[in-house]
Structures are given as C-alpha cells and as structure tokens.
C-alpha cells in the first residue's frame, strides 16, 4: 500500500526555516498530504540523516521541495544528492529560486563577512580572533566543517531545477496547490514558475494614475491613502517588476511591495526594472530638482535587489582584488 504513496522529501539549505513553516501552514491540509504521501526526508521536522538519503536509489523520491540558497559546500553537496534522488525537484521560496535576502551578502566578500561576524560585532567575545576553518585540528584529530563559499548562489546554479515556487515565504495556499497539482499529475512544462505570469500591480486593487512624485518617503514617514497607488504617494514599491501570486498581500495592508516573489515573466533583472519604474515617477523638466528627489532613495541597490541579488545580471558587487 505505502509504496503507491507519493514519496516526498523536503530540505533547507541556506534559509531561515520560514519556508518549512510555510509548509506546515497548510494546516489540516497536511493530513490530506499524509494520506497521499510519505515524507522520507525533512531535517527540520523529523530525524533523518544524510546517509539515509545516500542509501536511496536514484529517483527514489517523487518530489523534493528544496528551500534556501547555496551558501556553503554542505548546501551544494546535499542539493546534488537530492537532485539525483528526486524525480521532480522544486525550488521552494525565493532563496532557492533567486538567492533571497541572504543574497545581499554578495555586496561583501566572504572575508568581510567573516571578520564582521566573528570579530567586529558589539556582542562578539572572541579575544583570540578565531575564525572557523573548514579543517582544524583538535586534540590530534582533524575536524571538518562545511566551507563557506565566496558568494551566495541560487539552487539552479548547481543543479537542474524542475519547478520554481518563489515567495518569502510562498503562501501556504500556493504550496497546497502545487502539491495538489503534483498528486493529480497536472504539472506545467519543466522549468516553469508555478505562479501567474503577471505582476503584483495586476493583483493590487489600488487606483493607478499618471504619476508624478516630488518627494520619496519611507513607509514610517506617512500613513498612506488606502485607495491610491503607493508609488503615486512617493513610496518605493516594487510591484511593477515583481511576480504576482501573493495576492498583493503587502499593498493590501498599506505596505509597499519589496519584491519577494522575484521577477515577473520576461523581466531579466528585477532590480533594474523596478528601479526604472520607480525613478521615472520623479520625472520633471527641472533636472536639478529631479536629482534632489531621486537622491532621497538612499540605498537603491539594497532596496531593489533585496530578494534577488544572486539572480541579477551582475550577481553582486564587483570586488576589487585584494591589495
């Protein structure tokens, strides 16, 4: 009986665990899932070891949902292992799909990050200045830990991904819908994003007008009008470049979109596209005035690449070689 059930695997690489929580957020639907599927690997919730996965036959798992970006050698090794063991590999969440928030690390070198994390933060107590090494010797034994990579990568940089389900995290309904589609065998072309091709603006019910802003504001500086487009009100909203699927969850509660569902269909660089859409709201024939208004956006690269720096054209800051 049980061998007719769908064999599921779930894994987190470099992520926060929010996607795993989103899977649990499908609530009582998880019981339906348990009826049609057996979970064979889910480190955050159940006790499995990597060797259990290694012992599986290739293609043993029907579907594997992998969330989190690739940050270190462990992430890559397990991603490759799960790719071999899975018939269908789904990149779950924005980190796996596009690099996610942790992709912002690509503005710094690995050395800068390790220095800050292990030596410079206020709460760090590390008088000997020890930075963890991939291999170290303790009492005559060699200890190995995963090697932190130079940069943050998205999952499909290293393995073939069959489907993408972005979101930070993806809404539970979307995960439930994806599982339904898998059970029913109604999946689209491999390589597809399991979300609508439209943009967040399409799902956002606010009234959009021919806009001109003479001041950019940050969300805490005003209580926005609930009917009007947030861009029209001088807020930096990434809706025009961001994929729909969330039901405009943020703009519905008066917060601008920050782009967590990744680029809309046909957008090759979400940050550049969103920046373009936002910058032109400040268009004026007075160039000096326009410059003043636009420079009110203090951190454009960090703002517009908040969820997708490793997926952008340049993938991160271009580092000068060490002097």
């Amino acid at each position: 009986m049980s061998d007719k059930k769908l064999k599921l695997g779930l894994y987190w690489a470099a992520g926060c665990g929010g996607c795993d929580v989103a899977v649990l957020d499908i609530d009582e639907k998880i019981l339906d899932v348990a009826e049609v599927a057996d979970i064979h690997f889910w480190p955050i919730a159940m006790d499995f070891k990597y060797k259990d996965v290694a012992a599986m036959d290739d293609g043993f798992l029907d579907v594997c949902f992998l969330n989190g970006a690739i940050r270190n050698s462990e992430n890559k090794e397990v991603a490759e292992l799960l790719r071999a063991k899975s018939k269908v590999l789904v990149a779950l969440g924005t980190c796996a799909c596009y690099g996610g928030v942790i992709g912002l690390a690509n503005f710094c070198t690995r050395e800068e990050i390790l220095e800050t994390a292990f030596k410079k933060t206020v709460s760090t107590d590390n008088p000997e200045g020890i930075i963890p090494q991939p291999v170290s010797e303790v009492d005559g034994c060699e200890l190995h830990i995963p090697e932190v990579y130079e940069a943050v990568y998205k999952l499909d940089d290293f393995v073939n991904v069959d489907y993408y389900l972005p979101g930070c995290p993806p809404r539970a309904e979307l995960i439930a819908k994806a599982i339904d589609a898998i059970v029913a065998g109604q999946l689209p072309e491999p390589g597809s994003v399991l979300l609508p091709a439209k943009t967040v603006c399409d799902e956002c019910k606010r009234e959009k007008k021919d806009r001109h802003v003479d001041e950019f504001k940050r969300p805490w500086e005003l209580i926005p009008d609930e009917e009007k487009c947030l861009l029209d009100q001088g807020l930096v909203c990434m809706g025009p470049a961001t994929r729909a699927g969330c039901g405009a969850a943020c703009t519905n509660v008066n917060m601008p979109c920050r782009g967590c569902y990744g680029p809309a269909e046909g957008v090759i660089d979400q940050g550049a596209k969103a920046m373009s859409a936002v910058a032109v709201t400040a268009v004026s024939t007075n160039l000096a005035e326009m410059e003043k208004v636009i420079s009110q956006v203090k951190d454009p690269a960090g703002t517009f690449y908040m969820y997708g720096l490793p997926n952008s054209l340049l993938r991160g800051r271009q580092m000068k070689e060490a002097k």
Binding site: K76, F107, T109, Y149, E150, A151, Y153, D157, F158, I268, D269, G271, A272, K273, M275, S276, V278, A279, V280, A282, V283, S284, T285, L287, M290, E291, I294, S295, V297, D299, P300, A301, G302, F304, S312, L313, L314, R315, G316, R317, Q318, M319, K320, E321
Partner: protein, 165 residues
C-alpha cells in the same frame, strides 16, 4: 608583445538626435576612437537600466547612453525619463562596484558631430585609464569551478580584448 588596452564601449544612441549626430560625425569624416559599438534605439527613454547592466555583465568596459538635449526629445519627455534613471543607476553602479567613469549619459543633437567625437574620446580615455572591466579571479569561484567540471562553456571575459575582435 603587449597590445595597448582597447576598451569596448557600448553606445546606445537615440534615433532622432544622437544617432544622427554620430552619423554626421561619420559623413563629416571626423576622426574619433573606434572603440564604441553603437546600438540605435528610438529614444533614450527606451533605455532600460538592465541594458546597461547586461552590457557590463557580457563584457563591455563602458556604456555610453546619448539622447536629445532637454526640451528637444522627439517624444517630449523620453530624455527626462532616462535622466531620472541615470541618477539612480549611478548610485546603484557605485554600490555594485563599478567605477563612475564607465557609465555616462550625454546629450548630442543631430548637428553636433564634433560633440559626439568629444564625448567618445573622453570616455575612451577615461576607461583606458581604468583598464578592462573584468570580474576578479575570486568572484563566483565556486560557480566557475562547477561550470568547468561540467565541461560547459564558461563565459570568461578576455582581459584587454581589442577592437575588432
């Protein structure tokens, strides 16, 4: 033998003013460095910031965008739109570690062949001083290694690639 570094500059010019200005420079036989590859667009307002980033990502050493002077835009305000993007793009490029000399927005009208020559010359000189735009060796190490291990073609930007390559 070491060849002098010849930068590859992508020039994105608007149909109505700057492309005609470059054309005028040509038919007037004005001499300027041959380092600029020109792409004609209908309006500088058509230039998406991702065009500029794509040029850099695919090996350009500099990007020159040129449109009609303010007030002259064939489509009324396309050049203002590009100016708005340019202001934000300059900050973004700086955050992404790209020197400011590598990107420039200029205004060149259809009768300013000389000015086009001047801008191209200035830009080529500035970028020559900076050297090639290339990703340093330690950048994306793991990805490059992975691609090599697969035997797929790795897009590596040849240092100092010359004009006419």
């Amino acid at each position: 033998m070491t060849k002098e570094f010849e930068p590859r500059i992508v020039g994105i010019l608007c149909n109505w003013c700057s492309y005609a200005g470059a054309d005028l420079a040509g038919i007037s036989r004005i001499k300027y460095p041959p380092n600029v590859r020109i792409v004609r667009v209908m309006c500088s307002g058509r230039v998406d910031p991702s065009f500029v980033l794509k040029a850099f990502a695919e090996g350009a050493d500099g990007v020159l965008v040129s449109g009609c002077h303010p007030v002259d835009c064939h489509y009324i305000e396309g050049n203002y739109k590009m100016w708005a993007r340019k202001v934000m793009l300059e900050t973004m490029l700086q955050q992404l570690g790209i020197e400011p000399e590598r990107f420039r927005l200029t205004w060149v009208s259809a009768n300013e062949g000389e000015l086009f020559k001047q801008y191209v010359t200035e830009m080529v000189d500035a970028v020559k001083k900076l050297g090639p735009f290339q990703k340093p060796v330690n950048w994306m190490t793991e990805l490059l290694e992975h691609e090599r291990s697969l035997g797929t073609a790795v897009q590596e930007i040849a240092a100092g690639g010359g004009v006419g390559e």
